[in-house]
C-alpha cells in the first residue's frame, strides 16, 4: 500500500482555512461562492489523497464532486442573481480576522492535546489526523461564526456549507474506513438542505423584499 503524503495533506488542509476565511469575509456573495467552490475542490483532493487507505473513499470523491463542487455552488450562484452584495454583517473585517487567528490557535492547541484520544489510525498517520482535526474544527467553528454573525440569509447558508465541510473532514480523519452508504447519505442530505433553504430564501426575498435575517421579525417569543 502506498503512503499518504503528509506534505500534500498539510498544504491542502491549510488552504482549507484560507478558503473558509475568504468565503466568510467576502462581501460579494458570488466571490464567497467561488471561495466555497475552491474549498470543495480541496476536499475532493484531500479525499483522493486519503483514498490510498480506503478505496471506498474514491466513491465519496465522486459524490463530493457532484454535490459540493457542482450542485451546491450552482444553487448558490443561481440564488444570488440580482443580489450579489451581502447585507452588512455585524462584525467588520478587522475584528473578524483577529477572531479567526485566535480561533485557529485555540482549536489547534485543543485538538493537538486531545485528538490522540479519538484518532484510531496508526502511529505515523496520527500527526496528519491531528492536523486535519484541528483544521476540521476550525472550519466548523468558522461556519458557525458565519451563521451567527452574518445578517444575509445566503451567507448563513454558505456558513452552513462550511460547517458541514468541517464535519465531513473530521469524519474522514476519525473514521477513514467508513462504509460508502453512510457517506452517500450524509453528502446527499447537505445538498437537499441547501436547495430547500435557498428555495425558502427565494420566497422570503419575494415576500419581505430582502434576505436580511434581521428583517425577519414576524414571530416573537
Amino acid at each position: 500500500m502506498r503512503d499518504v503524503s503528509p506534505e500534500l495533506i498539510h498544504t491542502f488542509s491549510l488552504l482549507m482555512i484560507l478558503t473558509s476565511f475568504a468565503a466568510v469575509e467576502s462581501r460579494n456573495l458570488r466571490h464567497a461562492t467561488i471561495a466555497y467552490l475552491g474549498q470543495a475542490l480541496l476536499i475532493c483532493a484531500l479525499l483522493l489523497a486519503y483514498s490510498v487507505l480506503n478505496k471506498a473513499l474514491l466513491y465519496w470523491v465522486a459524490t463530493a464532486l457532484i454535490t459540493k463542487v457542482i450542485l451546491v455552488p450552482w444553487f448558490l450562484w443561481r440564488s444570488t442573481t440580482g443580489a450579489e452584495q451581502e447585507t452588512k454583517p455585524i462584525i467588520g473585517f478587522g475584528l473578524s480576522a483577529m477572531l479567526l487567528v485566535a480561533l485557529l490557535a485555540t482549536m489547534y492547541r485543543l485538538t493537538h492535546a486531545y485528538a490522540i484520544l479519538f484518532v484510531n489510525t496508526t502511529e505515523e498517520l496520527t500527526s496528519i489526523a491531528e492536523l486535519n482535526l484541528a483544521i476540521a474544527f476550525t472550519v466548523f467553528v468558522l461556519g458557525l461564526y458565519s451563521i451567527l454573525t452574518r445578517r444575509d440569509a445566503v451567507k448563513s447558508v454558505i456558513g452552513l456549507c462550511l460547517l458541514e465541510n468541517g464535519v465531513h473532514l473530521s469524519l474522514v480523519s476519525l473514521a477513514p474506513t467508513i462504509k460508502e452508504t453512510a457517506l452517500a447519505g450524509i453528502a446527499t442530505e447537505v445538498v437537499v438542505t441547501v436547495y430547500l433553504l435557498l428555495y425558502i430564501i427565494g420566497g422570503i426575498r419575494d415576500r419581505f423584499g430582502t434576505a436580511d435575517t434581521f428583517k425577519l421579525s414576524e414571530l416573537h417569543w
Binding site: 484520544l117 479519538f118 476519525l174 417569543w221
Partner: protein, 525 residues
Amino acid sequence: MPIESTSILPLLAVGIPGIAGTLIFALGRFTVWLREILALLGTLGALVASILIGIHTVKGYAPTAVGRQFYADPLSALLVVLVSLIALLATVYSLKYMRHTVADSGLPHTTTIGRLTAYYGWLMLFISTMMWACLSNNIIMLYVAVEASTITSGLLVAFYWDKRSLEAGYKYLMLLTVGITFSLFGCVLVYATGANILGGSRGLLLSELKAVASQFPTMTAILASAFLIVGFGTKAGVAPFHPWLPDAHAEAPTPVSALLSGVMLKVAIYAMVRTISLFYPSFPPIATFALALGVFTLVIGDIMAVAQDDLKRMLAYSSVSQIGYVLMGFGIGTQLGIYAGLFHLANHALAKALLFLAAGAVIYSSGLRRLSELGGLAKRMPVTSFCFFVGALAVAGVPPFNGFQSKLALFVAGGNAGNWWAVVIGTGASLVTLLVLLKAAKTVFWGQLPTAFEKTIALKEAPLSVLIPMVLLSILCIVIGVYPKAVYIPLKSAASVVQTISSPVTSVASGDRADVHMGALEKHR
C-alpha cells in the same frame, strides 16, 4: 436476549409510506382523490406493519432486515406504533382540513391542486423518515434518518408560503440542520471509537456498541454524549436549543403541528436516549446531566407558555415543557425512570396531538387563533370542546387521564432515586401547566362568544373527518388513564432494552483500550 429473525416488516414499515409519497408526487396531479387515498393507504400500511412488529417484539423476537441495518426491539416497536398511529389520524384529519385551508388561501385552483399534492407527498416522506429513524440500527444512518425527517418536513412548515410561515420554515431548517450536525460529530466519535474496539463496520451497529461502550475512554464518552445531547436535543426541543419549535409548531398546518409535536420530538428524544444510554452504566454523570437539562427544559417551557396569546404557540411551549418531563425520566436513569420517561413520551404524543388537532378544529370553524379573540365556543362546538378539555387535563397530569399515570411514575422514580429536587420542581411546574391549559380552555370554550359570531350560524362544529381522530385520541387518553395496565407490558419491555445507570458494566475481552488511550495521552503531554 431476543431471538433475531430476518423479516420484511421493518422494510414495509419504512417503505409503504415512502412509496406512497413517491406515487403521490408522480400521480397526484391527475385526480384530486388519488393522493388522499394513497396517503391513507400509506399510513394504514405503516400502522399494520408497526403493530405486527410490536407483536413480534413482545413475544421475544427481534425482526431485522438488510444485514441487521434495520433492527426492531420493543423500544423501536413502541416508537413506530406511536408514529404510525398519530400519522394515520393526522392524515384522516387532513382530508377535509387541508382542502378547506387551501381553498381559503385564495390561491388559483391549479396551484391549489399542486399544493395539496406537495402536502401529501412530503407528509408521507416525513412519516417514512421518522419510521426509518426508529428502526435504524446503524448509528450513522440514525443521524441521516433524523436529519432526513427535518428535510422532508421543512416545506411542510413553510406550507402557507406567507411571511410568518416562510420565517418559521427558514429558522426550522437552519437551526435544526446546525443543531443536528453536532449529533453527527457525536455519532462519528462513537463509531470511530467503537470500530476501533470491535473492528470494521460492526462499530456502526447500535446493538453491538452496547457491549463495548464501557471500554470507551472517559473523555470520548463524555464529549460524544455532549454532542449527541446538543444535536438530538435541538431536534427534540430541549431548552436552551428550542427557539425553532414554537415558530414551526405554530405556523405549520395543524395536522403537521400535531405530527411535529406528537411524534417528531419523540423520535429525536428516542435517538438521544438510544445513543447516550450506551454510556449510562459506565458513566452515570451523563444521566445526571440529562436530568438537569430535563428539569431546566420543563421550567423554561412552562414559563414561556404562560405568556402566549396565540393558541398554537402556547401549545408549542407546553410541548417544550413536557419534553422536559420525558428527558427527566430518562435522566433519572433507573429502570423505573426510563419506564416513566417512555410512558410520558407515549402519553404526551397522544394528548398533545389531540390538543393540536382540537386547536385546529377551532381555527377551522372560527378562523381565529388568538386567545384574546376567542370565547364561548363550547355551545357551538361541544365535541371539540370536550376533546380539548380531555387533552388539557391529560397533559397537565390530572387523574383519571393518562398524563397523571406517567407523571406519578416519574415522580415515584425520582423519589426512589433520591432526586427530590427534581420531583419538587416537576410537581410545581405541573401545576403551572394545569393553570395555563385550563385558562386557555376556559377562555376559548366558556364565556362570551365573540360578537362577530353571535348572530351568525356560520360558526359550527368541525366536520366528521376532523372530529373522529380527536375522539379516538380522547378515548385513548381516558382508557390509558383509567386502566394503565393495558400498556404495561409493551412499555416495560421497551424500557428493559435501555441501559440504566445500574446495569452491569459489560466488557468484551479485547485489551483495555481505555488504558492504551490514557497512556498515549500521558506520553503525549
